[in-house]
Every structure is written in structure tokens, then in C-alpha cells.
């Protein structure tokens, strides 16, 4: 096995044991990226120089016998809506094409403190608005399992990078499924923690009450590892929780007591691809064989989740994106400006792509005088009903399992002209964001055409520990997570054979 194919934890162990240096890892990884990135296009920006600098620092620490962090020497990719001091953070938008933040996001600070190596910024749908990555203003990332297919969205870049072994792990953001859906489409582990578990400070806001930073990893243990590092209260985020962070790692193989798994009928209904449906049913059988009890559930208001989501998310987005006006930073029109309204109009007309514009218009509409009660307020009430559904469900079960998405990855261009079809791609992931609960997507099979299928495990608020264990149980019983897409092999002499 080539070193870039290892999991994050495996490579960290090797580095700590001095079997390989962090610098060697980075050099090898960048050689691999040079080979594969033209095919996949997962990244918007790579920082080899910065990565080597950090690698040398980690190696030096180890040379000196100093203590190293939990992610010592692990190369990590960041979705390009997470602010990095000194490195462009574009949100895949022309409006922020040349924006270099003067500060690090909370999670970036945390992984740096734990000696991770940031290798680059990965592609996304513009401002995380999309389910296919086709809304990136710069280029489309391809699914490593089939490069004619989309990698999912909005975090297609991070997911494709991890799947193609061009990063050992990645941080993304999940507003309606942007970590879980691409992870399902690319066959890796995508974890969205509880709202408030991880500080949003430095994550460029899409929809503030739904956004949550999450992880994309090669296996469940790595998800627990990364969550361990980035969780916890942050004084710069009023909505970050003060709830203590448990040890996710030491006990990950022990599901305690009788596991009761909820199976909500609303997540297995019309629109579900049969191959996806049967893969998840097979997975449930595996749980059953391992002593879990399956409980049929109904979450009656989940049918309204997508509609509710698109009202709340666009309302918040219309306000969050108001700041991109060209006054202080970002794109400024080259055309002459007669007055301030002119300037705003040109900056935003030139700077935003069509999906972003659509959502801003929609959001402004649902907030405008005379419509607020009918839309935003109503949606907030429905959101509470959906919350109640889940609260009731979790009185009966420890976790809920469903498909992550109704279909496997679709072809590039297939849905781009039909936004409503595109929105339905997130039908199973959206409820967790509305409710604020944690969810994880893990690979649970492949279609006949070889596309990965993802299974979603949802848990109670702040019960990440439980869903990680449930996910790990399945992973221990299966090897879907070990499958690699058939990318052209690198020439052996360029890799370090181990």
C-alpha cells in the first residue's frame, strides 16, 4: 500500500514511530496530486510551500523529542469557505476570487495546534449553495469513481480529494447535507456534528442557524479523531455549546447495551433509488445480526423539510451575503459607477453566479414586508414540528438510520437545469440541519455501475459518541470503506513503496 492510501490515523502513527517523515509524506502526496488533480480537479488552491514548512516543523519537534499533536503530520484539505490566514478563501465565488483572510477560522487554529498540515483549499458550490459542485465559479470537480459524475455538493472538493487519496482527511461545512451527501457519493465517511458542537467562527456563513463544520475522512476512526480536535466551546461563537467534549476515541469499538435503531418510513418512500434502498436494508440486516433491534418509525413532518429548509436557508443567506458589496474587499466592477446603487448592482451582478442570485432573491422575497409571516415565520414553526418529531423518535431509539441520499451520484449536467430536482437530492440530509442533531454518512455498498452508496446514521443532540460507535460497528463488519476507485496507478518509482 502506498502511504497516501493510508488513513489519517495510520499515517500519523507511522510519523510518530519515525517510519516516515512528515516531509516525505507531503512530498509524496504532492507528486500524487500532480498526477491526479488534472483529472479530478478537487482543489481551488494548493499550498505546497506552507505544507512543507509545517511538515518540517513537525519533524523537528519529533527530532527533539517534543510532544506532538493529535494530528501530527497529517495532511488535511479544507473546503474553501473556511478562512485561512494568508491563503485565499474564495467560497468558489468570483466575488471573493482574491480574498485573503487576515485570520484563521477556529477549526483551522485547532488543527494547526494539533500539528496537522494544511495542503490546500478544496472546491465547492459557490458559497456552499448546491448539491453537485457544478455551481463553483471556477471549475467542476469530478467524482473519482466515475469522472462523468458529479462528486456531490456543496463539498464535492473535499470529498473527491479524500476519495482520490489527495488528502488524508478534510474539513467541510454541512448546511443541508454538504458534508454527508458528497461523502455518500464519493464513498467516504462524512460527519456533521450537533449544531454548536464545533465553532463556526471563520466559516463563511451561508445559513447561520443551519451551518455546521463537519469532517470528511477515510474511515470512522478518523472522523472521531478529527471531531475530537475541533469540538468544544469557542468564545468567538455565541452559538457554540459549552457542553463538555467526551473522549470519542478510546471506546469507539464498544456499543454499550441493546442498540435500538429507528427506521423512519418517510426516508424509504417514493423517489428512493432501489439499489440504494436495498443496500441500506442489507446494512440494517447486518446490525440486526449484531444484536440491534430495528424499530419502525414515522417522522410525519419530514415531508415539509425541504420546503422549510429553502425558506430558512435562503432568508439567512440573503442577509449573510449582503456584505459582498465591493466596498471593503472582494470583487469591484471595472465598469464605471455613477452612484452607489450602480456600484452595488455591478459588483453583485458580476460577482455572484446564478444559483446564488436565485437564493438571494428568494430569501429577500420570503423576508419582505407582508410575506414574512406567511413564509419565514411559518417555516420556523414547521421547523419546530420537525424537531418535535425527532424528539419523540429519540425517546424510542438510540439512533436513526436511513439512506444518505435518494440516489447515487448523478451525471454532470443531469440536474443543473432543474433546481427543484437538485434540491431533492438533500431530502434525507436536510432534517438533521433543521433539528440541529448530528449525522454521519458511511459507505454501505455500491451500485451495479460501481458508484458508492451512503448510509446515514442520525443521533440525539451531542450524542456524536453514539453514532460514531454505531458507524464503527458496521465498518468493523464490512470493507466498503476500504475500496478504492480505479484511478490510473502512479508510476511505482514516484511513490514510496511500503
Amino acid at each position: 500500500m502506498l502511504s497516501h492510501e493510508l488513513s489519517a490515523n495510520q499515517i500519523k502513527e507511522k510519523i510518530i514511530k519515525r517510519e516516515i517523515t512528515a516531509q516525505e509524506i507531503v512530498e509524496e502526496l504532492f507528486e500524487w496530486i500532480n498526477l491526479k488533480e488534472p483529472l479530478i480537479k478537487a482543489y481551488l488552491c494548493l499550498d505546497k510551500e506552507g505544507a512543507l514548512l509545517k511538515a518540517k516543523e513537525v519533524d523537528k519537534k519529533l527530532d527533539n523529542g517534543e510532544k506532538v499533536g493529535l494530528l501530527a503530520g497529517v495532511p488535511v484539505a479544507l473546503k474553501d469557505n473556511i478562512c485561512t490566514v494568508g491563503i485565499k478563501t474564495t467560497c468558489a465565488s468570483k466575488i471573493l476570487e482574491n480574498f485573503i483572510p487576515p485570520y484563521d477560522a477556529f477549526v483551522v487554529k485547532r488543527i494547526k495546534e494539533e500539528d496537522a498540515i494544511i495542503i490546500g483549499k478544496a472546491n465547492l458550490d459557490e458559497f456552499a449553495m448546491g448539491s453537485s459542485n457544478e455551481n463553483s465559479a471556477f471549475h467542476i470537480t469530478r467524482n473519482p469513481w466515475n469522472t462523468d459524475c458529479i462528486p456531490g455538493g456543496s463539498g464535492g472538493g473535499p470529498a473527491a480529494a479524500v476519495t482520490a487519496d489527495m488528502a488524508f482527511m478534510a474539513l467541510g461545512s454541512d448546511t443541508g447535507g454538504s458534508v454527508r451527501q458528497p461523502s455518500a457519493f464519493c464513498g467516504n465517511v462524512g460527519c456533521k456534528p450537533t449544531y454548536g458542537r464545533v465553532s463556526r467562527y471563520g466559516l463563511v456563513a451561508f445559513a447561520s442557524s443551519l451551518d455546521q463544520i463537519g469532517s470528511v475522512t477515510k474511515d470512522v476512526y478518523d472522523a472521531a479523531l478529527l471531531l475530537q480536535v475541533v469540538s468544544g466551546h469557542d468564545g468567538f461563537d455565541s452559538t457554540s455549546a459549552t457542553v463538555g467534549v467526551p473522549d470519542y476515541l478510546s471506546d469507539i469499538n464498544n456499543v454499550d447495551g441493546n442498540l435500538r435503531i429507528g427506521v423512519p418510513k418517510e426516508f424509504f418512500g417514493e423517489g428512493l433509488n432501489s439499489e440504494v434502498g436495498s443496500a441500506v436494508m442489507n446494512a440494517l440486516e447486518i446490525y440486526k445480526r449484531n444484536g440491534a433491534e430495528l424499530v419502525d418509525l414515522s417522522l410525519p413532518h419530514c415531508g415539509y423539510a425541504v420546503a422549510t429548509y429553502y425558506i430558512i436557508a435562503t432568508a439567512e443567506a440573503s442577509s449573510n451575503l449582503a456584505r459582498y458589496d465591493g466596498v471593503r474587499y472582494g470583487h469591484r466592477s471595472q465598469l464605471s459607477e455613477d452612484n452607489i446603487i450602480d456600484m452595488y448592482s455591478r459588483v453583485r451582478a458580476e460577482g455572484f453566479g446564478s444559483e446564488v442570485k436565485r437564493r438571494i432573491l428568494f430569501g429577500n422575497y420570503v423576508l419582505s414586508a407582508g410575506f414574512y409571516e406567511a413564509y419565514y415565520l411559518k417555516a420556523s414553526k414547521v421547523r419546530n414540528l420537525i424537531k418535535n418529531d425527532f424528539e419523540d423518535a429519540f425517546k424510542k431509539v438510540d439512533c436513526i438510520i436511513s439512506p444518505t441520499c435518494p440516489t447515487p451520484a448523478f451525471r454532470i449536467g443531469e440536474k443543473i437545469t432543474d433546481p427543484l430536482q437538485m434540491y431533492l437530492s438533500d431530502i434525507y440530509t436536510i432534517p438533521a440541519n433543521l433539528v440541529g442533531i448530528p449525522g454521519i454518512s458511511i459507505p454501505c455498498g455500491f451500485t451495479n455501475t460501481g458508484l458508492p452508496i451512503g448510509m446515514q446514521i442520525l443521533g440525539k443532540h451531542f450524542d456524536e459518541g453514539k453514532i460514531l460507535k454505531v458507524a464503527k460497528l458496521f465498518e468493523n463488519e464490512t470493507d466498503f470503506h476500504l475500496k478504492k476507485p480505479n484511478l490510473i496507478e502512479p508510476e511505482p518509482k514516484k511513490g514510496i513503496d511500503i
Partner: protein, 480 residues
């Protein structure tokens, strides 16, 4: 005028806190542009607000002082509009759940008390400031964000005021209250206190409100009064001609002394308020309210009344003394130290101390003459006389020395001794025979002249009462 005027006021007061409402930047006034900024108050991508507890408590204190009902539950809302001085193009404010509602302020106009109802009190963030280049024809403006994010308290009245005197009295009362409770420095020249007025006219006796005109951004009480007078005459002449007053927002042009249309009702902003998702709701419990209530000092109206009752000073004097809390404190400290003569101390403060403070453009907290020093001066005054006392006061201000030490050093104690004064008068009459003669012939001004001559010799130390008596006796005796 055959119309009744209906007026309401919105007051914006910058709260006196070290740091801004949602970030740690300083609120200091007058620094170099954009030196008190950070990613949060510049509205950079990815930043989040964290509420300044002090600012919230200041607002709570103000709401309590203004007799508001305090909401158990409050949160912030986003108010959306585009302007280059607003970094996020929305202002974090309060709309659906204000800190305080339904309060009131009692004012006194021409001896009559009136209650002005407060609609609501809420907390929001200040915008930055546009700087327009002085060169004409420049096609750009600059923005200074030092002020952006400074906590701002908005106090909205009901349309309860019926004449400009009431408006003036309300503005003064409100300013005094905010100063008293220490939540704002209310410096109008620095923009810490600003007003917006709404005004409509209706036929006397009508209970239907006329079309309302709002005038924004008035930086002084004077401007408020000017704009109201202007609008009253503008609106009444329109109504007289049978024309409509348009419902609109106007701006006051202080140079030309006219108001001009800013936008019509149709062009009014739709602020698209919705709850701020980046901040958590705030629950206000009774314990917190009690804690804040305990920090509210005696208010100007109460202090005013107490001064009249307790110290037997005039209503007018009590008004002046209580206008500034520090001045009232100064007065009370003096009274406490002297255990006597509140009336005289009040006179000193109102006439002499205030004059000096005005001339020196300083405030009473920094005044060189401490209450103790003023009391010493008043105590020693009977031995030096009023006119010397004033000189000593001047000397105290210039040197910072105490009255007793000045009196002692310059030997300023009054001459009360009759025989000593008799000897001096004898000499004065001898030196000025003409004047003594004039007095005998009925020229009363000669007496003043001779008093002046005596004062000159004694360097003002002669007790004027005793001296006048002696002189009159001697001159009458001489003329017989």
C-alpha cells in the same frame, strides 16, 4: 394656529462602554480612521458577533429608569439595508423583542407636569462614518469604521408632544437621565446623542392623526427645535391652502434652514427584519433586574424636589444644581461639610463656580476648588467681606491654595475695630476737605468717593457697614 401639532421623538444615544457591542474594539472617539477595527466590526467573511454584557446592562438600566416593562425574553434582529457605512449591510438591532416597552418620562413645562410615554427602548449597533473629500468633483467617498459597532440605545416615544416646549423639556429630561445613570456621555458635538422627530398637524379637536413627516439625523437640540418650527409653518401653510402634507422622510439642512425630502412613503425601506441567528436569545430574570435596579441613582426630578424641601433653596436654583449630577454631588458635599448655609453655598456654586467652569470649559469633577475649599471660603467670608472673598476665590482658582492660607498670607482680615477705622476716617477727611464739604452741601455722591478712598488705604479691608456708619456720623457732625 388653528392646528394641533403632534410630535414624537426617537433618540439615539451611544452607550458609554470600553468596547464595541459585538467585538473587543475600543469605542474611543476621535482616533485615526479605521484604527479601531477588527474582522468582526468590518464585516469580513466568516466572523460572528459576541454580545458585550456591559452594553446590555446599560440598556437594561436605561429601560428600567424610563419605567419600561422589561421583556423576560429578548433577542436581536437583523435590519437590512444597503449603505457603505454599514459593513454587513444589515444592522443588528431589536425589532420583535425589545429590551423595554411601555415606559414613560415625566417632564415639567411652565410649572405643569406632563407624562411622555415611551413606546420602546432597544439596543443596536452603530454604523461607521462616511468621509466626503473636500475637493469638489471627487468621485469617491471614504469610510471610517471606528464607530461601526459602538453600542447604540434607541428610545422611541409615543407621539405625545404637542408643542416645542414639551419637546425641549423632554430632550433635556432624557439627556439628564442618561447622564445621571451613567450609561451615555451624551456628547452631542461628538454625535453620541442624536434625534429623529416625527411631526403631523391636525385641526384642533380632531382625533384623526394627520400625515406624518419624519426628519432624520438631528445632531443637536437646537436643530430639533428649528426643524419643528420650520415644519409647523410649512405644514400649516400647506393645509391652509387646502393641500396635502405628504407622508415622507425629510432631511434638515442646517445651512439653509430648510427641510428637504429624502424619500417618500413609497420609497421607504423594507428592512426585512428577522431574528439574528448568530446570537443567542437573552432571558432576563428578576434577580438580574433587581441587581441592575440597585445601581440606579436618585434621578434629577427627585433630587430637584428634595433640594427644595431639604435645603430651602429656590425651585430655580435647585433646577440648576440638579441639571448635572456632578454639580448636585458637589453641592451636597459642600453642605455636608459645612453643616450650614446651603442657600449661600448654592449661590456661590450657581454664580461663581458655574461661571468659572464655563469660562475654563471644564467640568466640576476636575474643578480645582474642592467642596472642602469652597466651604472654608464661605466660613472665612464674614472676616474678610464679600468683595475680598471674591478676590480670594479668584486666587484659589489660579493657585489652588486654600482660602485661610491666602487670607493669612495677604493679611486680608477685615478691619472691624471702630477706633482703628475712626483714625483712618479722620485722615481721609483731612486729606479730602472738598469732598467733606460737598457732602455737607447735600452732594451724596461724595460719601461714595470717601468710602472709596478709605478702602484704597485699607486695601479693601475696612468693614463696609461700620465704615459707612462712621463716615456718615462724622460728616453729619462736621457739617453742623
Amino acid at each position: 394656529m388653528k392646528y394641533e401639532v403632534v410630535m414624537g421623538l426617537e433618540t439615539h444615544a451611544e452607550l458609554d462602554t470600553e468596547s464595541k457591542l459585538f467585538c473587543g474594539c475600543s469605542t474611543k472617539f476621535g482616533s485615526e480612521p479605521n484604527t479601531q477595527t477588527c474582522p468582526v466590526c468590518l464585516g469580513l467573511p466568516g466572523v460572528l458577533p459576541v454580545m458585550n454584557k456591559k452594553a446590555f446592562e446599560h440598556s437594561l438600566k436605561a429601560a428600567l429608569t424610563l419605567n419600561c416593562e422589561i421583556s423576560k425574553f429578548t433577542n436581536f434582529d437583523r435590519k437590512s439595508y444597503y449603505y457603505p457605512d454599514l459593513p454587513k449591510n444589515y444592522q443588528t438591532s431589536q425589532n420583535y423583542f425589545n429590551i423595554g416597552n411601555n415606559g414613560y418620562v415625566d417632564i415639567v413645562v411652565k410649572g405643569k407636569e406632563k407624562r411622555i410615554d415611551i413606546h420602546n427602548v432597544h439596543l443596536e449597533e452603530e454604523a461607521g462614518k462616511l468621509i466626503h473629500p473636500e475637493t469638489s468633483g471627487a468621485n469617491y467617498s471614504l469610510v471610517d469604521f471606528n464607530r461601526a459597532g459602538v453600542p447604540l440605545l434607541e428610545i422611541v416615544t409615543q407621539p405625545d408632544m404637542r408643542n416645542v416646549e414639551e419637546v425641549e423639556s423632554y430632550m433635556q429630561a432624557l439627556r439628564n437621565i442618561l447622564l445621571y445613570i451613567g450609561v451615555s456621555d451624551c456628547k452631542m458635538q461628538e454625535g453620541s446623542l442624536r434625534f429623529e422627530v416625527s411631526i403631523s398637524l391636525r385641526e384642533k379637536g380632531s382625533n384623526v392623526l394627520g400625515n406624518r413627516v419624519e426628519i432624520k439625523n438631528l445632531n443637536s437640540m437646537k436643530a430639533v427645535l428649528k426643524v419643528l418650527a420650520y415644519e409647523m409653518s410649512r405644514q400649516s401653510s400647506l393645509l391652509d391652502k387646502g393641500e396635502n402634507v405628504l407622508m415622507e422622510t425629510r432631511l434638515w439642512d442646517d445651512v439653509d434652514s430648510v427641510s428637504r425630502r429624502m424619500r417618500s412613503k413609497e420609497e421607504a425601506h423594507d428592512y426585512r427584519y428577522f431574528p439574528e441567528p448568530d446570537l443567542v436569545p437573552i432571558w432576563i430574570d428578576q434577580e438580574w433586574i433587581n441587581e441592575i435596579r440597585a445601581t440606579i441613582p436618585e434621578l434629577p426630578v427627585d433630587k430637584h424636589q428634595r433640594f427644595v424641601n431639604e435645603y430651602s433653596i429656590s425651585d430655580y436654583d435647585a433646577g440648576i444644581l440638579t441639571e448635572d449630577k456632578h454639580l448636585a454631588d458637589y453641592f451636597e458635599e459642600c453642605v455636608g461639610l459645612s453643616q450650614d448655609s446651603p442657600k449661600e453655598l448654592s449661590n456661590w456654586i450657581i454664580n461663581d463656580v458655574l461661571r468659572e467652569l464655563n469660562e475654563r470649559k471644564t467640568n466640576v469633577q476636575d474643578f480645582i476648588v474642592s467642596p472642602k475649599m469652597l466651604v472654608e471660603l464661605v466660613k472665612i467670608k464674614p472676616t474678610i467681606g464679600s468683595s475680598i472673598a471674591k478676590d480670594v476665590f479668584g486666587e484659589m482658582i489660579n493657585t489652588g491654595r486654600t482660602a485661610p492660607s491666602i487670607v493669612k498670607e495677604k493679611n486680608l482680615t477685615q478691619i472691624d475695630d471702630v477706633s482703628e477705622l475712626n483714625d483712618i476716617v479722620t485722615k481721609v477727611i483731612e486729606d479730602n476737605p472738598k469732598a467733606a464739604e460737598d457732602y455737607g452741601q447735600g452732594k451724596k455722591s461724595a460719601l461714595t468717593f470717601l468710602i472709596g478712598q478709605t478702602m484704597k488705604i485699607t486695601r479693601g479691608k475696612a468693614n463696609p457697614k461700620i465704615l459707612t456708619k462712621i463716615l456718615m456720623e462724622r460728616l453729619s457732625a462736621g457739617s453742623k
